[in-house]
Every structure is written in C-alpha cells, then in structure tokens.
Amino acid sequence: MWQDAPLFPESASTISDSVDQLYAFLVVVSLFFAFGIATVVVFFAVRYRRRQGVIPARIHGSVQLEVVWSLIPLGLSLVMFFWGAKLYFATLDPPPGAMDVYVTGKQWMWKVQHPTGQREINSLHVPVNRPVRLTMTSEDVIHDFYVPAFRTKRDVVPGRYTIAWFEATKVGEYHLFCAEYCGTKHSEMIGSITVMEQHDYERWLTGVAAGETPQEAGARLFESMRCNTCHSGQDGARGPTLTGAFGKPVQLRDGRVVPFDEDYTRESILNPGAAVVAGFDSIMPTYEGQLSEDQLMQLLAYVKSLGAEGGDQ
C-alpha cells in the first residue's frame, strides 16, 4: 500500500506493510508533537518578546498540567509499545511449512545452502509466497542479515544459531545487506535476494549443480564421525536416540528441562558436558575443532530430519 511513496523502501514481504503502517503511525504522532511544540514556542516567542514596561507574569507551575502532560506521552508511548510488541511477536516464528535455508556469514561474504543442496554465494533465490526459514551462523565475527524490502533483520553470531524468516510477496530482486559492522569490507558484504515464481524457482534449481543436500551430507557425517555407534537408536545404546527428539523438551540430569533446538544441538556436539541428558553418562566426546561450520550445519540438518521422522510416527 505504501509502495509508491518515495520515502518508503520497496515492500515485498508479508510483514512489510504492517511495519510500514506502524511506522506511519509513529511519523504522524511525531509530526503532530514536533509541529505542535514548534508552533507554541514560536507563538510564545513572538507574543511575549521583550517590550518596554511589560512585566513577566509570576507563574511557578501547575500540578494539573504536569499530570496531564505526563499521562499523554505515557499513554501514547504505551500504544506504540503494545503495537510494536504485538507485531514483533506475530512475526517472530515462521509459519509452518517453511523452506529451510542455511546461511553462514564470513568476512566478507554470505554463503547459503538450499534444502535441496544448491549452494550460492552473496545471492539467494527463493520462490514467491513461500515462507523461508533461515538458520544462520557466522564463521568469524558478528554479521547481520538485513533485507530492507522484507523489513527483516537478524544478527548472525559466531558460536550460535540465530533464526530469521520471511515470505516474499513480490517477484523481483532485492538488496541483501550486512548491517552489523564486521571489518574492512563490511559495506561490500552485500548480495541480492531474487524472488521468483515457484516454477521459475524449480527451473533455477535444476540449472544449478545440487550435490548432496545438507541432510544427506549430515547423515554421511553421522556415520563417518561414528556418532551412530552411540546414537544407534536401539535399546541399551550408550547415547539417547535422536529420532523424534528435535523440537521436544529434554530432561537433563541436573533437573533442567531445555528445548531441543538448533543451539542445543550445537552445544551437545561441541560441549556435551554442559547439558547431560537424564539417564545417560557424560561419555560423549567433544567434537570441538573437528567440524567446520558447514559440517555442523549438515549434522544439524540431519538431526532435525530425524526429529521430523519421529514426529510423524
């Protein structure tokens, strides 16, 4: 709805119009107060400019006025808060059925991998009207995945996964920026998001060498790193079964219950002693330093796919 206004960036996602509306509300409130105050100040300044023989009034204040002009900004700012928080929560989690894309930031490029295995650098092709869920991490410093046309921004932090998502509503090509200062070529850590019709996207996929999908690669790693010796899924195995586990709460030995999510998976592999599953010994070796960020992502994709398997049963 704001697309044609020159002061708004392109609006190309399911949330961008809602963000623009809230922004427009804030602009209107701000203009009202800025012009209101300016008008009053100018009026007073002219009306009460110094003149010979005019004695300034002896006014010390008014508690009623103070209350009124404390409550009005309070009320308005609470409206902004609730509206902002509501929209934030409504847009926090991706809708179900999102396509899983893995993103790795690195000085100074974006590496992405499609669920079907295609890899891209500094560009991302996505189908229109389909939610895309980004699982992101960094190989070095903090970066930030920012697509102004989608009003989407999320820091990409080394040592953990952050999640972002968007659903593009308009075919086209959009800027991808790194928004967190990350060193010399920060401003060149940019790329493009190409939004295509579903069939164009499929055609595009077939044109790019796919190689293994992340979860296939993960399954292979799961064997070659000998994870399967303990996580065989059979009764009496030395490690807990991972089938059906992802996404569910985990009971830990120290009494805590934590969600089995991306970061938990990562920590379990790199620092298994930090959260030990109830009923198991802390015998899992750490894989710190033995796996690249790519391989970790692949294992994660595999563990996730096992989780989905269990869910279906």
């Binding site: 701000s30 007073f44 002896r58 900004p73 060193g183 010399t184």
Partner: protein, 552 residues
C-alpha cells in the same frame, strides 16, 4: 548590605591574572582554571573529531568509495566516534561549564576536592594522548562500540591503545562525578536548600550519579577486551569459549546511560538559559529537577534496546522496549515545562537563547525518533541504519552540543570577562541550526529506506540524500568555525563584561567578571528560591538583578 556593592567595582585581581606562567596553570587547583584547561583540550578534540566527520561526509558524497580506501574509511568513523563521545561530548558540559560554575552556583570557594579535580584533567589528557597515539600510529577500526569478537580477536589496528585511552579517561569521569556529588552535598551556601538549587546543579548531580555507577562497568568491559586480545583468554570470542553478546550487555549498560551523561547537563544549561532570557522562574521547577533523577535511574534499565536483533531473549526485548518507552516521559515533561516557561515571559533573543530554542526543536525531534527505536517491530527494520545515526546526532549534537554552545556564550562574559560579538553570535547560531538539519534530517529518510550505517560504498539510489547530507555538513562545519574565531577574537578585543550582563539571577552573577580566585569575598547567604526576578515581584528594575543575598 547587598551583594551588588561587592560586585560593583572591577576587582584588581581575578582568577585569570592572579598568577602567570605555565606552571600556575598546570599546577592550579582553582576549579575555574581547570575548567578552562578542559575547554582548551576539548576544543582541540572537537576540531579533530570534526575533521574526521568532514572526511566521512566528503567520501559519502559519491556512492563508490573513491576518496579513501575502506580501511581508512572505517578508521575515520571509528576515530570520529571515539573522540567525539569520550573526549568531547561526555566531558564537555560537566568538565568545562560544570567545573567552572558548580562552586559559583553553590556559593562555595571551590569544589570539595580541588586537587582531585586537577587529577581528573591529567587523567583526561593522558587518556587523550593514548588515543591520539592510536590515531597517528595508524588508527583503529572497530567502531566506537568496540563490538567483540571483532575488536578482541579480528581487528589488527590499535585497539589496545585506544581502549586504554578510553579506560583512563573513564576514571577522570568517575572522579569528577564524585567531586560534584560531594560538593553539592557539603558546600552549599547557608540558606541554599536543595529546592533552591539552580536546575543546572540538579542536572549535574544526576549526571554525576550515572558517571559513578556506570563508568566502572565500561572500564570492566574494556579491560576484558584487552585481556582477551593480549592473552587469548576466552571471554567474548566463541572460538575461545566466550560469549560475544556478553560484551554488548556490558558495553550498553554503560553506554546507554552515557547518552544521559551527555544530555542531562545540557538540559541543566537549557533551564538556565530559558529562565534568564524569559525572565521567569522555570515552570515546574521541581518536576524538572525530579525528572533529571528519574532519567538517571531509568536510564540504567534500558540498555537492551540496542540488542533487539542480537538474539537476546524475546522477553528481554519486550521488557527493554517497555522501559525505553517510560524514559521518554520525563524527557517530554522537560520539553513541556520549558515551553510553558516562555508563556507570559519577557523574551529576549540573545545568542544563548537562540541556541536554547534551537535545542528545543532538535531535542524534540531526537526524542520522538527515539520512540521509533524503542518500538520493537520498527526497530528491527531501522536498527543499525542511518535512522539510528540521525537519531543520536539529533540528541547528541542537536541537543548536547547546541546547549554547550549556548552555555558557553551565556557564561563567556563570566569566564573571560569579555563580551562576544552578539550579531555574529546570532548569525552563526542560525547557520548551525539550519546546517544541522540539512545534514541529519536526510539520514532519517536514508535509514528507513534501508541504508546501513558504517557503509563505505553504497547503492546508487541512496546518493541524492547523501549529497544533501554532505552539503549540510559543509554549512554546519562553517557554522562551528565562526564562533571559534570570534570567541578567540573577543578575548582581546571583546567589550569588557559587566558582572551581570544578562541581569540573570544565579549566584555566579554576583561575582565580578571574571571572578576572583576564591569566588566570594564572604560566604553568601541565600534567602530566596532560584530564578527570582525582580519584575516578577513588581519591584522597580535595578541595574543588576541578583538573588537577594546577604553578606554575613
């Protein structure tokens, strides 16, 4: 006997001519001389930081990064930020005007700890030297925010020297705050109760609390970066087992309140200016005083609004958003009260008042756009874009710097004993106001359009707004040079200032211009509230208006 009698005759001796020679300055414990030494050092830093800004705006006039290399550009904005924030804005009003005025406003002969006060100047200068060393030996490129793990592991510029500079200067800030607090508690003249204090003093009191409570956390954060960088101890870098976001918590725990260290003193200045030039008591005195404290306290609980997209818990984000909204209220209350002070006043448009009115406009815009950043869903889009750059320049340059310049003009006669040229003063205040808006308003638009900050090269479609901004910056730069020139000129050629050229009501105006070394011959006794103007009481006008002061 009234105080006018003591101030009527030009004194033979004052704090400036009491002694000559470099030693009499470098070893002085006179708060007024120390204030002047701060003024000199800080002006140097201001022009250095300004020179970096000029280079930045020149570079951004074209989208392709053709003036300097990326590396250089990153150093430019880092040095600009570090110098302007830690070596200019944070100390500016407290260390120059606060130092000079606090004892005078309290009717005291000096601060509570005069030698400690001198020490703060040395700490400040030594910190500055470290930072200058970093500049000349090749610069630093982490951004003034020093985000880890870039600063602690990846950057190969002079992070340690810069960080050490900031660390040392931090102690100067802590000790100044301590000195101000003790002085305000212990050195008030007889009869000068808390609610008779000028609002300038209230503002500085609140600022000092933040300086004491917040700065140690910054010092800790910087120290930890240094430890990780030098010894490879894993604190922030996940590769060493650290947590990069922890640094952001520590950093903003100080650096958000630091915004209030920059803006609260300027609010104190504005209260003085507006009441003097409207010749009225500040409307809602106690609400303004208390809102300073409210800001100082609430300011400590909003740091997380810098981290809405960092992956901190969403519930933390919601709480920080709410608290940030609340901080807006006391600021709004102040603006309304200043506006109401003008009502039925007798308003004179001298240079300081033009700065004060300019402040009102720019601070209002800065404050309102702060609400955008506190609103979660909007912040996600504008975080780390030029919108944020514009917002904090409106607060810190449009607010703090305008107030600093207004205050400097206002008290210039008291500080130097000379008047500045009024016409040039007005002209340059207007130029600064216009230049400022042309520089920074386009940046709001750029930000919402999606231009990230700290970008050396940028897509072509952002060029028009960037050119506007650069054009504004050249006007703004000129605007700053004019006062610089005529203030220096006035030291020798300016008209001699009477003791109270503005017929203002503060105790400082009961002393001669410039004051004697120990300020007051005899301790004044205060019998009235602050901002007590004779016209208000219907009394006939006298040559000078002073608070009713009895000399014991």
């Amino acid at each position: 006997m009234s105080a006018q009698a003591t101030s009527a005759a030009e004194p033979q001796r004052n704090y400036l001519n009491a002694d000559y020679g470099i030693k009499s300055w470098l070893l002085t414990t006179d708060h007024k001389r120390i204030g002047l030494m701060y003024l000199l050092t800080m002006t140097l830093f201001f022009f250095l930081g300004g020179a970096f800004a000029v280079a930045i705006r020149l570079e951004l006039a074209t989208p392709h990064g053709d003036l300097v290399e990326s590396e250089t550009y990153n150093k430019l904005f880092t040095m600009h930020g570090v110098i302007m924030i830690f070596f200019f804005l944070i100390p500016s009003i407290p260390a120059v005007l606060g130092n000079f005025l606090l004892p005078l406003m309290l009717g005291a002969r000096d601060l509570a700890f005069p030698r400690l006060n001198l020490l703060t100047w040395y700490l400040f200068t030594i910190g500055g030297v470290f930072t200058l060393y970093a500049v000349v030996s090749g610069g630093v490129d982490t951004g003034w925010t020093f985000y880890t793990p870039y600063s602690s592991t990846y950057a190969n510029t002079h992070v340690i020297a810069t960080a050490l500079g900031v660390f040392i200067t931090g102690f100067s800030s802590i000790l100044t705050g301590l000195n101000f607090i003790v002085t305000t508690h212990k050195m008030r003249a007889p009869g000068l109760t808390w609610f008779r204090l000028p609002l300038f003093v209230w503002a500085h009191y609140a600022t000092s609390l933040i300086q004491i409570l917040g700065t140690p956390v910054l010092a800790t954060a910087i120290l930890l970066v240094g430890i990780e960088r030098l010894f490879g101890v894993g604190i922030f870098d996940p590769k060493l087992g650290g947590d990069p976001v922890l640094f952001q918590h520590l950093f903003w725990f100080y650096s958000h309140p630091a915004v209030y260290i920059m803006i609260l003193p300027s609010m104190g200045v504005i209260s003085e200016l507006i009441s003097t030039f409207a010749r009225k008591r500040v409307f809602g005195y106690s609400f303004i005083a208390m809102s300073s404290l409210a800001i100082a306290i609430l300011g400590f609980f909003v740091w997380g609004h810098h981290m809405f997209v960092s992956g901190q818990s969403v519930y933390a984000g919601v709480v920080f958003s709410l608290l940030s909204m609340l901080v807006a209220v006391p600021s709004a209350v102040k603006v309304f009260n200043w506006t109401a002070t003008l009502y039925k006043g007798s308003i004179q448009f001298s240079t300081p008042m033009i700065y004060a009115l300019g402040f009102l406009g720019l601070f209002t815009i800065g404050g309102l756009t702060g609400l955008f950043l506190a609103t979660l869903a909007v912040d996600v889009h504008v975080h780390d874009t030029y919108f944020v750059v514009a917002h904090f320049h409106y607060i810190m340059v449009g607010g703090a710097l305008m107030a600093y310049l207004g205050g400097l003009h206002f008290w210039w006669p008291k500080i130097t004993g000379r008047m500045y040229p009024e016409f040039l003063g007005k002209i340059s205040a207007v130029i600064i106001f216009l230049g400022f808006n042309l520089t920074f308003f386009p940046q709001f638009l750029l930000g919402y359009l999606g231009m990230p900050r700290r970008y050396h090269v940028y897509p072509d479609e952002f060029q028009v707004l960037n050119v506007l901004s650069s054009a504004g910056a050249s006007i703004l730069g000129l605007g700053y040079l004019i006062p610089m020139a005529y203030l220096v000129w006035s030291l020798k050629y300016g008209k001699r200032a009477p003791s109270n050229p503005w017929r203002a009501s503060g105790l400082e105006w009961t002393t001669p211009s410039p004051p004697a070394t120990f300020n007051f011959d005899r301790t004044p006794v205060v019998t009235t509230e602050a901002y007590h103007y004779s016209e208000e009481l219907g009394a006939p006008r006298t040559g000078t208006d002073v608070r009713e002061v009895e000399i014991v």
